[in-house]
Symmetry: C2
Subunit: 435 residues, 2 copies
Amino acid sequence: MNGHPGSVSTALFTDRYELTMVAAALADGTAGRQCAFEVFARRLPDGRRYGVVAGTQRLVDALAAFRFGDAELETLVGVVDAAALDWLADYRFRGDVDGYPEGELYFPGSPILSVTGTFADVVMLETLALSILNHDCAVASAAARMVTAAAGRPIIEMGGRRTHEESAVAAARATYLAGFAATSNLEAGRRYGIPTAGTAAHAFVLLHDDELSAFRSQVASLGVKTTLLVDTYDIRQGIENAITAAGPGLDSIRIDSGDLGVMAQQAREQLDRLGATGTRIVLSGDLDEYAIASLRAEPVDSYGVGTSVVTGSGAPTAGLVYKLVEVDGRAVAKRSASKESKGGRKSAVRTHKPTGTAVEEIVHPYGRPPVLGPHDRVVPVPLMRGGEPVPDLEPLEQSRERLRAALVSVPWEGLKLSRGEPAIPTVFPAAGGGA
Amino acid sequence: MNGHPGSVSTALFTDRYELTMVAAALADGTAGRQCAFEVFARRLPDGRRYGVVAGTQRLVDALAAFRFGDAELETLVGVVDAAALDWLADYRFRGDVDGYPEGELYFPGSPILSVTGTFADVVMLETLALSILNHDCAVASAAARMVTAAAGRPIIEMGGRRTHEESAVAAARATYLAGFAATSNLEAGRRYGIPTAGTAAHAFVLLHDDELSAFRSQVASLGVKTTLLVDTYDIRQGIENAITAAGPGLDSIRIDSGDLGVMAQQAREQLDRLGATGTRIVLSGDLDEYAIASLRAEPVDSYGVGTSVVTGSGAPTAGLVYKLVEVDGRAVAKRSASKESKGGRKSAVRTHKPTGTAVEEIVHPYGRPPVLGPHDRVVPVPLMRGGEPVPDLEPLEQSRERLRAALVSVPWEGLKLSRGEPAIPTVFPAAGGGA
């Protein structure tokens, strides 16, 4: 399932300097050095307690289309020399990729993705890998907090209009992975098989001569298992009209404005009085995880969330970086100023109490894991070998279930919405250590 | 120039409810009512003094590909009825579009886009129009503040890795429109003809046995008119190595970490001592408009900006809405609670002092403009007629020049980075007024 329909090349979703570095390395003979690059977050967004991995499958799909055809090469004349153009013409990714599976939690320093191969092979993937992971992880991380806040009530993603039209599709996927029930975005439904849902807009009511006619029309077209938007004029009258049009078997009403907690209470009482005891209440309108949490005691049945989730609820990018950590077996790292990195290829083990509660994230030198306890596990999995995806990459539903289970494993403080430390600490054993 | 390569349909970048509303309106006979929808911002992002219109051309291009082919219709079986599917199969946008040209400023209530046609024709464009405009306006609005802060020093956009891979391309376009000098994004270079630029990454230095070898390789490949990244290890030694490798004719050095103001001063002194008086200093590393402004007194020659600009510097979406304002000549508006809108189709005039300084934005009922003074002007322009783009839509360079001129017209308080009121007030004459 290619995230880039029409098999359009993804090779130019790339920063110019990656190709000029390849050209220079081809010329000086270092292009073939075996390298390991790692994707990780130096820190979580301010006060966040965990991150959620999302986008890995989109990246694997996009790499299949990372080829330089005539159209791409033509635009690179003058950017790199003829030797580099020849090399790019034959390029396909031939390296290995390991990483945290989608739906896994991550913490500061977690090696979310490891890419190994020759320098030229893997340096070019920096921008594409980071674009996909920074976006999708940011959205999934925010969405997971909302799912926790909703405490079992379903959430519909309806934020496509607040973000770039292609981001909208990826955001719908990331929110579904994080436990949202459905999306309003039709392309996400087509591309990823995510359930789509919808209600009606104020425009539909305004189009008609009066609200009752609009509701009657919607019920005639979609049946009573639909959601009527009752707040175009007066909410009380709107609910009255909704039940008049649909009868007490109406599936849902939606309220998109006003003091949502108060509105929900009044609407529930009114619906019950009208005999519509099974009619559900959908709330929308600038909801984020905090607003959702504040509505926990109110008679709400589901939420529609838009702007806040597609923009990562204050953290629109995950801040992941792609760093060279090893060259021909030699650990390398930037040493200057504030952005110091830990050299050497790494893997990670997450330890747990016998109860299943996570204890810490051990980020250790690759190939030298600590002794695993019976409740501990290695986090990264193989994703690509020799440029090909490993067989049987898991379906989205399985990633969704992984996150659900992972959140159960987090110490209870780690699920709080308030600002705090990461849910579990990241531990870096000395490079010489390990079993 | 289609923003969606491969002529992929854009018709499913749409929320499900738009199509179910069309189906219901087709069934009840209201689908053919003549409607006007408007795109506007109820308010600017917190404390911002103006917004910048961007994305209009991308929208016009995307509408040409808004067609329901077999693949799209197949996914809609079960979403809408057979009559609606038939109607969608023949659909192409046949309405009219007027709007603020790209590079124009906007304020709360400015009618950025007016779309007129039958209800069914125009209701379906809500999500696509808002996705494009909300993203591109958010980025361009942030970018314009950075250009002002840079006070003539060039800025290179290098944030593609911090946002969705397709958003990255649109963001590069929006920043160029706003006055950035170039982008690192190669696809933006290909798709929109924007100048691309690049330096080198720390990975290139780390790949080599030592920094001097890396610099010599880069100069051998790209010549001395290149930018050497000097902060992988020790900046002072890095600058020494850079001039050793390239000689005093080196074009630029880049510093990506540390206290950038102090670093720039020390680097300038060192470069001058080494005789590299013409070698320029490029700064990057988490720069936003405030950081850029704080560097105004330092010997900096250009900036590289990433995360902050592609995420709208704290306002990742412009908050634009798409509202039905007129049905068969009747003004309509939501009346409930806090989200009240002003009904009736509108246009806008911007008034100016004889000096050219903008005074106010008059948003008036369509067809009833105020009397224009000699320095006033009508802001919206025709963009599409009968579903076809008007001839000679302007090139990106012209939109760029429009913004440059518009920012000169803003009262000086309106260019301040600090939080405040909109640069000019929006005035709504009574609906009965006008000349």
